[in-house]
Symmetry: D2
Subunit: 304 residues, 4 copies
């Protein structure tokens, strides 16, 4: 399969469509990103990288980072985590408090904001220096030291993060947050502020393609079973209230962020990442979704 050609063709085809959709405006710092940024990268288990456009430029990975946080928390406390966070799709927009109240402070899954806040709470309870250790973990998965938090984005999110504060307070009321609210929010905004390139994202997600083993040094990070479960979670809950459409049209586990990134993985074959800042109505990258749909159609590589 000539992956480079397929990716180049898709980049060319969608280049002029980058103006569809809307940039996320609730984080002022993100509004500064040029709307025409557009990158695609595919990284195979055979260590080959295929890229097009701005695939080596840093983007704000935002919610994609929730997958790293979940992985690290599962490494730390294992299956116990699932007593405090569910694994069911939410069936509601990603910032809804309704379901959280109805379900007594147990978020439906680790990829809605409330779920990621509980995961952060777990990391704080179990790590000595949560921020440092989290960053080191992502650097290790990526095999790169050049990954940082963006403190401006952190500050910007804190200033307007009232909905997240509402969530975490509600869960504290239900006793599903153990640490100080400000500390939990601080870690949460830090993990979301990480900046990486499409290529780095692809490379770091290869452990989920490789049954939990880091391809570059063969180190097992998580068990086969945990790796499959994280993939299943991404498939069912990775794209907010558009997970069904993504399974339906793309057919791969994936995770999106409001910075316009989407990562999708094919177990056994590859990891592919797209970046285009403008989002569709469900909060996922407009072009990215289209590119991934067309990619799996061309390569016939949906897992279904």
């Amino acid at each position: 399969m000539d992956y480079q050609k397929i990716i180049d063709d898709l980049h060319l085809k969608y280049k002029n469509a980058v103006n569809k959709g809307k940039i996320a405006t609730y984080i002022p710092e993100l509004k500064k990103v040029p709307a025409d940024k557009f990158g695609i990268n595919l990284f195979t288990l055979q260590n080959q990288s295929f890229g097009a456009g701005d695939y080596q430029e840093k983007l704000s990975i935002q919610s994609i980072s929730k997958v790293y946080a979940l992985t690290l928390a599962l490494k730390e406390i294992g299956e116990k985590l699932w007593k405090r966070v569910g694994v069911e799709p939410s069936g509601d927009p990603f910032n809804s408090l309704v379901q959280l109240e109805f379900e007594k402070g147990i978020p439906r899954n680790p990829f809605i904001n409330a779920g990621a806040l509980v995961v952060c709470d777990i990391l704080i309870s179990n790590l000595k220096s949560p921020k440092v250790e989290f960053l080191n973990f992502v650097r290790k998965l990526t095999n790169s030291k050049d990954i940082y938090f963006n403190e401006k984005v952190v500050a910007s999110e804190k200033k307007y993060g009232f909905v997240n504060a509402a969530h975490v307070n509600l869960m504290k009321a239900f006793k599903n947050i153990k640490n100080d609210i400000d500390v939990v929010l601080d870690l949460y905004y830090h993990i979301c502020s990480i900046e990486m390139t499409c290529e780095e994202l692809s490379r770091s997600f290869l452990i989920f393609t490789n049954d939990g083993i880091l391809p570059y040094n063969k180190e097992r990070i998580i068990s086969l079973s945990v790796s499959k479960r994280i993939n299943a979670s991404m498939q069912l809950c990775g794209l907010y209230d558009e997970a069904g459409q993504f399974a339906f049209k793309v057919g791969l586990p994936g995770k999106s962020g409001v910075g316009g990134g989407i990562v999708a993985i094919h177990p056994d074959l590859y990891c592919i990442t797209t970046w285009s800042p403008k989002l569709n109505k469900k909060g996922n990258s407009y072009i990215g979704f289209k590119v991934l749909e067309e990619f799996t159609t061309i390569t016939q590589s949906s897992i279904f």
Copy 2:
């Protein structure tokens, strides 16, 4: 009508029933109040006071204070207030976030917690020293200097007030809170911490019996129209999700608090206050509700 005898009889009759229901436990400081406290006071427009039991002992008035806050805010900004708070019953338990989210941060009425938080926000925007001026306002209505905040109750509420913090954050996200969240919560917990006797409560609520005029010095505090509207709000929203039962069985506008107090007013005739700490399932004083029901039946003084 021999009010003193009626009240004495009711006190005697219900004295041994004070163990029904449950003391509110979510504010630890309130748990210290002896469960057998039981007071009744009726104050007429003719300046007569009839009391039984612990009616001259201080109780934590809690949500009853929301009526003072609303009155003061209406004095300050008038009808504009109703753009930021509704006047419809909530149809939901008093701490629910569901409706608030559905209605985009506009609380349904000024007596649910979210509504009182917006009222506090308005007071902060319009008063130089909100806490001092609020306290002075209540003292003026009561014609007594002996009314104070209880800082222990404030501290106790702040420590466990995560649901209120969730509400105020959510409304801030919808831009219906203008001031700093901590400042709003601080005022809110202060106004709820006020301690007054049954007799003081009755006396201070007489303005709503007297069309907005203070009986003791004939000063008009609010217009006839505003007075009637506050009465209507109490009738429809004053007893959380039991307002219907209260209208149905007692038939007077009233306001309850989780400290076990209930104030009810009869336009043109009297104001009556009961205090018994144990609450029914809806969060209203178990005995207080019964006493008021029986009182309006005996005196045939429901407004309906």
Copy 3:
């Protein structure tokens, strides 16, 4: 008080405003009513009638009829009725299924559609000829034989009444409907189809002004207590999700219908009815609400 002049003035003042709002379109038969119909009638306990405009013309009373149904059902089975229907405001648009599902098939009050359907179910279980006996009951309250069901309206409602069918099926699933679904819906649509004039409506509601006694023959229909409770129910739940505004601005117990009628009663004084077909966003007569608000302001006769 010169009631005739006040009513004439209000009729004159609002005559040219009848085009505000929208006629209910979901019952095709109702769309045929000329939008400029406008009547006002006030009937006092002293048996005086004051009218203006089309107050002696028949209108489709629709939901106003739910008050008669409730009264008759309370006559039949008494307080037991409240085990199957609540007395709390709904806090939701009048056709919402959400709350009904949440509360396990017990409608919040007898004036939302679901509540009225349960009341019809009770009438069917307790009356030999429910339709005939219901009609006779209304005729007796009105002291007139000239009151009929409109079978065209019944047919029109049946044809499009899918939401009501959803409600009644859901309650049947929760075992709160005992009779056949079609029989319940048939009675419900019949009671809603009754046609009366403003004057007849005022006259028939005088029992609630008169503590349960028919003024024209002094017959007691319901006890004082039941009469007051029905008034309380109207105050809290009589105008769908606008009950708060109505209490606030009009200050009287009342009941509206989508045919554009509103009846309001002042305990001890009078009953007043308005009719204008165009409705505001909450489903209540646009002009009628305004007229009643101004009437109680002029006459200072709010119960609060």
Copy 4:
């Protein structure tokens, strides 16, 4: 892989656990099925069948039949179907009306009852003899004439199917049901009443394993793309509010029914069916879920 041994071992291991969970009681006819029925069948693309226990006995397939209905409807009208039914998980118990009302009568997916009712409505609009053609379609997929509706189950469901009637009426109110309500419910109850063996179920679902082609005669029934999409739908929505757990622990697209059957398919490899009537709290076969979880762990055949 020695499938026969694996299945025999699982059958032996779980045989004594068939008493966990509860038989569905809302369809009286289903209560008559002996609780200790227990069958497993695996059918490979290579036309090999492996069975244990009661795998050749008929069971009431119930909701599993919704997959056939969806497939047939997609054959008839293609992608247009998705304008009337969504593809997102519901995040709510399978009989909830809340979401349906919120989303204006568009069911979230074709496997919740409301979605299947819309699919039935589509079949009625597009087929001459819906019941006959549906049955023939299932027989063709299964390559067997010995498949029938159970009219007793139909009658039993109709008698107690008030929740389904509520759903279909609500959707009719939103104009998402075109045909007569009774006709739609009649077809719906018929398709759910079909009886098949585990082996027949496995065999008939092989088209989803085989990219839309019937293995036994190589006839293409649906396109590759439609086949993958149906698999994706099953993965995300096939097990009511337990789809996440199923993806997580079993890792295959699947569909369950309240008769105690579960079918799961592995694209490219096999289809496996289990049957045990007692259900867990989410309404899925208690033992069946366990068996499938253990099966994919042993065979390492999760798609993730």
